[in-house]
Amino acid sequence: MFRRLDAPVVQAAGRTVRVIVDGVALDCREGDSVAAALFAAGVQACRDTAVSGAARGPFCMMGVCYDCLVRIDGRPNQQACMTPVRDGMTVQRQLGAREVAV
């Protein structure tokens, strides 16, 4: 699990941004990536692989490994680590078979 550092080592909480993860509201901080917000909320697995169905979660956090793919605002296969959170954003974990993105 992961947690957020508290004041005073971090600055007073930045603006709160509310996203919806699999139908549940999640408050995060402006400047978080979707992947960081998921870690802070205790979510480490965000998808099943297309090959074996094994659980995966963010691994590199720098846009290299593509293990953090989630559906964002309806678009599948978005890199959670490269997408900043936004008010009202919907995030769905990609569990089960994949569809083709166009």
């Binding site: 600055q11 691994f59 490269m82």
Partner: protein
């Protein structure tokens, strides 16, 4: 109306495109703009700094003792860059670089670069730009660390842990183990300790024999800027965290939910197990070569670092005309070296484009060449000391090698034994390297496994042939590129 001319007039033209806003890219773009070159800097992240100075302008971790002075040095690159006049394109990913037709006036042909910009909730928008010269400053990524279970949720790279800390002040909670070797592993441990994070263990894969091998390089390391800092940091970490040295085998195991629950390791011939909540892996960094390979630059195997690196001269120039590489993307040398290599590459470009003469270039470059020599002093010591042991580079059995396509070490080894000729043919056998990461996390391992099975040198085995697009793009994204009469013509089947 001349459609062609109007379209091409809309495509921005620059003297120089710099790709990547880490220390090398920021320093190169700043210097180039300062020398009067029209310069654009493209970077994937929403803010400049690269990975080493990630979020340095916006991190919530404001207590400067946590991330340390070396991190905050990044601010000294941001401010001059912001004033430099260089155009900055953030959240932008370069996915294609093509050479333009030579110009009628005999000027060397430049490049046409395709990139996509993602902005809040919109479909990514693809655009083109033209430039006369490119400096790739795409930096490093973590070396693959293929152990059993490295794909489990709960296992992340040490770099990923550091990015969570820098960007969001998010840190591990519960039972946390760091494993592997290399300066970043200890730096992260130190930063975690500064932030009050408890670490249960560091499992060191550095063999004690490596200290002996590194000893001949110790003299130059004694004069390295890293030594003093390194000792302070190691002392603090060793005081606060149980360290297991000489780990020869390492495995992550899943619990019932399919996520990490346990780490097993062998040290001193004894196997032990620990219940854990997260495992952070690290065994060094390697140049990120996908763009430099796709554009056709020559690469060579570095025997000391067990990785590929582009072949560059002292100015960062590659085998491709008008293409330079600066920073760790041209060979791992660290952040301080990267910024000087960026400035050296920039003055070379200014000379190549006729902005300054060779004498001015040499004058400009001299202080940076001296600083580069200082910054890289003693690196051989670290390279030999922290060379990842063979069993962590050349896995066996069911260990996944290609994370995207879930090809295992034994599958790759078997294909090599039955005559697979190299990494490219391996794609046909196993699809390894053909997933969305495009070989970034399996390429080095596949090269080494083929070398191992066929008793060849990695340099002779070679690497995947990489092509554009170097990052996945959708057809919808490509369709947002500006259209020309020629591109429309190409898809019109029936003409009236």
């Amino acid at each position: 109306m001349n459609d062609m001319a109007s379209i091409s007039a809309e495509i921005p033209q620059y003297d120089l495109l710099v790709v990547g806003a880490g220390p090398a890219g920021l320093a190169a773009a700043t210097r180039a703009a300062g020398l009067g070159l029209s310069t654009a800097l493209i970077d994937e992240q929403p803010a400049p700094g690269g990975q080493i100075y990630r979020a340095v302008g916006s991190t919530p971790v404001q207590d400067r003792n946590i991330l340390g002075a070396d991190y905050w040095h990044g601010l000294e690159l941001l401010e001059p860059f912001a004033r430099s006049g260089a155009r900055y394109l953030s959240s932008a990913t370069v996915w294609s670089i093509n050479r333009l037709e030579p110009q009628a006036d005999g000027q060397p042909a430049g490049f046409e670069v395709a990139y996509s910009v993602s902005q809040g909730g919109e479909e990514p928008q693809a655009s083109l730009l033209h430039c006369r010269h490119i400096i790739l400053a795409t930096g490093a990524q973590e070396r693959p660390f293929p152990i059993p279970g490295w794909t489990l949720p709960g296992v992340i790279t040490a770099g990923a842990g550091q990015i969570l800390l820098k960007t969001s002040g998010v840190v591990p909670e519960g039972r946390t183990v760091l494993a592997g070797g290399g300066p970043l592993l200890y730096l992260l441990a130190y930063q975690y300790l500064n932030a009050g994070v408890k670490l249960d263990a560091i499992l060191e894969t550095t063999a004690s024999s490596q200290w002996l091998q590194a000893l001949p390089h110790a003299w130059s390391f004694l004069r390295s800027p890293y030594l003093g800092k390194g000792l302070t940091l190691m002392r603090a970490v060793r005081k606060a965290v149980p360290i297991v040295s000489g780990v020869t085998a390492l495995e992550a195991l899943a619990g019932e939910n399919g996520q990490l629950a346990e780490v097993r390791y062998t040290a001193g011939g004894q196997s032990r197990s620990m219940a854990v909540d997260q495992l952070l892996l690290h065994q060094g960094v390697v140049p990120n070569t996908n763009l430099s390979r796709a554009v056709g630059a020559e690469h060579a195997w570095n025997d000391l670092q067990d990785c590929w690196e582009p072949v560059v001269d002292a100015w960062g120039a590659t085998s491709v005309p008008q293409l330079s590489i600066a920073g760790d993307g041209a060979g791992i040398a660290g952040a301080m070296a990267a910024e000087h290599r960026g400035r050296i590459a920039a003055v070379h470009v200014a000379t190549a484009l006729g902005r300054i003469d060779a004498a001015a270039r040499d004058r400009e470059a001299a202080p940076h060449q001296a600083a580069l020599a200082r910054a890289t002093r003693g690196r051989e010591f670290l390279e030999v000391l922290y060379r990842p042991p063979a069993q962590f580079r050349r896995p066996v059995g069911d260990t996944i090698v290609c994370r995207c396509e879930e090809a295992t070490a034994e599958q790759v080894r078997h294909a090599a034994r039955i005559g697979c000729q190299g990494p490219n043919q391996m794609k046909a056998f196993l699809r390894c390297g053909m997933g969305p990461c495009q070989g970034r996390f399996c390429g080095l391992t596949v090269t080494e496994l083929i070398a191992d099975e066929q008793q060849r040198h990695p340099r002779d085995v070679g690497y995947y042939r990489l092509r554009f697009p170097t990052k996945p793009v959708t057809l919808g994204e490509i369709a947002t590129l500006p259209q020309t009469p020629a591109s429309r013509e190409a898809v019109v089947r029936f003409k009236k």
